[in-house]
Symmetry: C2
Subunit: 547 residues, 2 copies
């Protein structure tokens, strides 16, 4: 009998070839206006760099470059050199960046041995390139299309030697064709010749997988915070604690254990063990905010907190920030090893007026680096919804941190991966900048008179009321409207508003038709991670417990 763990094959939802080419569309999407390349007076944003790299890739295709063709470049560290590192492999070609200090004879050897098809030449090295081409076997040299790079920051006189310049090559390309990852992560990415001080230089071949892993590892070892001290509040039985015990081994960090979660445990760990990072559901953050004075201890500024498990009311995040914590909103599911979506924050958003900042805080965000693709699609047609911040669809994922599948449940696995994506069952809108915001679980959306009403939106509105500690909204059967919202509310204690007062508060703070038609004051049933158990509330409603 075969082991049931061996039953899974890789599919497009859970297997994507590793390649540094994945980083570029993400940078263009998440940091479109971020400075990507600076060179003297020249400036390119990530949006512009991505567009130029797409033009380079498709321009190269237009002049005949295909899979496994070598494209050489002779240039200093200028924007075109950076672009070649993305655009050449995206064309299917293999990038061969040649040392500009080499003598023409050695360059001739490299162009010949490397089977160069296209040579990109910065003007500073036009003469060197000419001499190298002249030193080659004529047949091999004739196979090379030479393109001149004219850098406006290079002011010496120059004599183009190519059939066209780089800008003309970009003009032959387009930004419509899809950005191509390699068929296999083992495909060749670049060809780099050794210095060959004593012998002929040797051509070292890199592959996409190696370069991807190099980059992520370099971030880990050089760019990252060193030796973090992680307080393990998130149970390791939830998505293996989002992988953090493994991650701490990768960083040589420290795991601070907690048998149970309380405000005292958290404040003590921070004060006694120098916690630098932890994660918690919004309810854990509320616990910190509403801690008894006797449990509180000083908190150094800058402790990093991720929150997930339920969409946090923006007020919870801003109150945490007031205490000095840096809160990052993430989203994910058991099926995605935990967090795969992050509300990557832009510093300029801090300048925003507070109301808009609240809206920005409420969003789940964009795909993390290791997730290949995230989208919001129509639940019927799987067509992407418009990025209008209004149209509701289902969040779907594709990437290497999507599960193999469900154990001994091929039907559920097939359903989850239908159409090549993992279906989250969560409903969201996509904003103009690509950031997603969850509106509801597919099964929690309230359909009232044909209109979709998000229970999460009503809950966020109720949280703005000063007396409300916690709110849960579910659909209640209604003869006229089909369904209407019913709110369950936990109060903070002192103040006790009436049902009508809260309904009026909602009417004032959101579209009137979305207001709850009923408010029940009660303790809301929750899971261990603070997820409200709406199915319990629905069951109690159906049983008529609140009639």
């Amino acid at each position: 009998m075969t082991n049931p763990y061996d039953a899974f094959s890789a599919v497009s939802a859970n297997y994507v070839p590793l390649s540094p080419l994945s980083f570029l569309p993400r940078a263009a999407s998440v940091y479109p206006d971020g400075e990507a390349v600076i060179h003297g007076k020249r400036r390119y944003s990530w949006r512009e760099t991505f567009a130029r790299c797409r033009r380079l890739a498709t321009g190269l295709n237009a002049i005949g470059v295909g899979k496994g063709d070598t494209v050489s470049i002779l240039a200093p560290n200028i924007p075109e050199m950076v672009e070649a590192h993305f655009g050449v492999p995206a064309s299917g070609g293999v990038l061969n960046a040649i040392n500009t200090r080499l003598d023409p004879e050695t360059i001739a050897y490299i162009l010949s041995h490397g089977e160069c098809r296209v040579l990109l030449v910065d003007q500073e090295f036009a003469a060197t390139a000419s001499n190298a081409l002249a030193a080659m076997d004529a047949d091999a040299a004739a196979k090379i299309t030479v393109i001149d790079i004219i850098d406006s920051e290079y002011n010496a006189p120059s004599t183009p030697i190519g059939v066209m310049d780089y800008d003309a090559l970009l003009a032959k390309g387009n930004t419509d064709d899809p950005w191509q990852l390699p068929e296999s992560e083992w495909d060749a990415l670049t060809l780099n010749y050794t210095s060959g001080t004593t012998n002929r230089p040797k051509g070292v071949v890199y592959h996409h997988r190696g370069a991807y892993l190099l980059c992520m590892g370099t971030i880990s070892d050089w760019f990252a915070a060193k030796r973090p001290r992680y307080l393990a509040l998130v149970p390791l039985f939830h998505c293996n604690g989002w992988g953090h015990s493994w991650t701490m081994a990768a960083q040589g960090g420290t795991i601070i254990c907690a048998r149970a979660v309380s405000a005292k445990v958290i404040f003590d760990a921070i004060a006694d063990h120098g916690v630098t990072h932890f994660g918690g559901a919004p309810i854990v953050l509320s616990m910190i905010i509403n801690a008894e004075e006797s449990d509180k201890r000083p908190v150094p500024a800058g402790i990093q907190v991720v929150t997930a498990g339920a969409p946090p009311p923006p007020s919870v995040i801003t109150q945490m920030e007031a205490l000095g914590f840096v809160v990052t909103h993430v989203y994910g599911l058991t099926e995605t090893y935990g967090h795969v979506t992050m509300n990557v924050w832009h510093d300029e958003w801090d300048q925003d007026d507070s109301k808009n900042r609240d809206l920005l805080l409420a969003r789940q965000g964009v795909a993390m680096t290791f997730l290949e693709e995230q989208d919001v699609v129509d639940t019927e047609t799987m067509a992407p919804v418009p990025a209008d911040g209004k149209t509701i669809g289902e969040i779907v994922f594709r990437g290497n941190t999507v599960m193999k599948g469900y154990f001994k449940n091929q039907d559920a696995t097939d359903t989850a991966f239908a159409g090549g994506y993992f279906h989250t069952g969560d409903l969201a809108v996509k904003h103009a900048d690509g950031y997603v915001q969850i509106m509801d679980r597919l099964k929690d959306i309230i359909i009232s008179g044909g209109e979709n009403i998000s229970s999460v939106e009503i809950e966020a509105t109720l949280h703005k009321h000063p007396a409300v500690a916690l709110a849960a909204v579910v659909a209640m059967a209604d003869e006229k409207w089909g369904e209407v919202p019913c709110a369950f509310v936990e109060l903070k204690g002192q103040e006790a508003p009436s049902e009508d007062e809260l309904i009026d508060f909602c009417r004032e703070h959101m579209a009137s038709f979305k207001r709850p038609k009923k408010v029940v004051f009660t303790t809301i049933p929750k899971t261990s991670t603070g997820k409200m158990q709406k199915f319990e509330l629905r069951r109690m409603l159906n049983e008529g417990q609140f009639s």
Copy 2:
């Protein structure tokens, strides 16, 4: 005709299955005394955690756990729970961490559906586990070996229910068996059940590849410095600039270009563009240290610098530190995509007296996270050299950032990968803590009267002399000794010591037999990255230019 880029197959030198299990032996090696897990009064270092995980893995093997067997655990976030995340998959088993808040019936369903073979139970949940086992089909329950976890931080009365406790299980294991990575990165790692609020819970299967990528991506997105601004001094034609243009896309950072490298370019970029990171050969660092006053501009503290390309004299690093830079010493080759070895710094080393600190600074260090294995081996037998800081051997590597191979050169590829490792051709010693220190290129070592003399060691000694700007040492033919060291020296300018004075200086500061027998004052030929071209010096010596 097949494309020559398709000629490479993955071998053990350049392909290792991705797995978070790789992180643990590295943490134990690099941070042996670093705090790994803290739980109340309990403390474990990474060395201890690794030892316990090895015992857990082999202990599970001893009671019959093999590949694809499910090992379940019912525990809060305690050290044993962390250890299970490494030890269970290292045993070949699949970890199933069960939500402790679930009712016994649901747990019974999970144990049964998940085909549990071993159940680890914290005492707090012994009664729950008993009830769950009692609710199962008797045949399925009989297949489960129950192990009690006795946590000294749990003070309530408890009744063990298992056949032995966790410590007894560890005692059945050992720390001698090799730490096992999965055969395939697609192998199952963990089994995590969904909450199953409305239906039966579904068992989500994770694989090693996904968890590895999740961890590296989490470091990138959460733990790492955000939006770095990288000054591209290292030519992109050297190992594709160590991958940094791709890495900047992964981080949404900024690439600041430089057509040429000079002190002015560097100071200007720092002042005008807010550079946070750059890399440079030791000669580039010397350029910064010895900059003309008119080229200097203010440097904010904390700019991160990696240096490589040649072993930097410790004095160069300390002078850079005095300017406020944070310098990290790395090592790698074209064949390894650039840097793969890093002198990971321990804060306590800063407390060391300055002489020892210099020795620590001179070391190349340990494997970076993405390199699977680094060792120093006998050049004849490939046996690892003792970690004594004295015995010289060749540095070898194995990992996913080792090249596919040499283009159209199967012989060189085979030679480079002989014995399952990539051979660097660099000679090094291994210190007691596992950190390596390069002594020479295989071809640069000087063999004098049967003794190996490291040219790098003599160069470092000469650099301590206040008048010496740069030193290069090569072997010179000698009738009596076979070879003797000959030093080439560039002076700083003002002061001009005699040949004898420098030879005497060396005699005083190192083993006398290692002193150079000849000193030539000249300009040393260099490559564009500041590597001294010793083959040129040897050629000139052989031609009798300095006789």
